[in-house]
Symmetry: C2
Subunit: 140 residues, 2 copies
């Protein structure tokens, strides 16, 4: 799978999984909805304004350790049809209300739910450094 | 969702995502097929014998940093039906050919592919320390 195909599959995916690690290096993985803003940027948002700005482990982790790993994968019982794409990069959290709104466009364009009720919490902006992919068909 | 329900959903899931971190604390996430061996143990295997025992980043990561985070999640466009279960714990790698075979039973029972062709690589054995879950229905 070339990088263009891989990123196309990522764009079309409805959800992904975001792995971060805390200050001690302990990994943490959560599901995300997300949008690809351009070839090298992915955005995800917190739907609801947290009680305090960084009151979610994924956000606290990114603040202390910006490296993230994001997976889009496809499973079915016919293992010849498995594939995955992993994006590794660095993330930052935009919590300022005016600035975070500048990043919501691709999310609102992708998800009707966000069009009807835009996310109100911080936005995670990921700079994609590497794209790795695997396709069972090609591996056989 | 109580822990019994959460673990039941995990058992029934056909795939999950395994997050590890390397010596520098950089996270890494891969898809896995897996089986729950008992209430507190999850197993996953490498299908093919790697060229060298730890010739896969997930294995090298576990050796230097045993903490892992595993996610089973359900996505659909009706967001009131989203749910996820996250298992956090510690992992070890069993590469010894006789010892690793002792852990294959639950994997072979769950996946026909493994019945026909048992995995030949190292087995990852995860001791589950905490089970966290979220159900959109309950959160609303």
């Amino acid at each position: 799978m070339d990088e263009f195909t891989a990123m196309s599959r990522v764009r079309n995916a409805r959800s992904a999984r975001l792995a971060t690690a805390d200050a001690d290096g302990v990994p943490h993985v959560v599901p995300i909805v997300f949008a690809v803003a351009d070839m090298h940027t992915l955005v995800a948002a917190i739907d609801h304004k947290p009680k305090t700005t960084y009151n979610l482990k994924r956000l606290r982790n990114i603040v202390v350790r910006p490296e993230v790993s994001i997976l889009v994968d496809h499973y079915e019982d016919d293992w010849s049809r498995l594939w995955w794409v992993r994006l590794d990069g660095t993330a930052r959290v935009e919590a300022d209300d005016q600035l975070r709104k500048q990043h919501l466009g691709p999310l609102i364009a992708k998800y009707r739910q966000y069009l009807e009720r835009p996310p109100r919490g911080p936005v995670i902006i990921v700079e994609i450094k590497t794209v790795r992919s695997w396709n069972a068909d090609e591996a056989l």
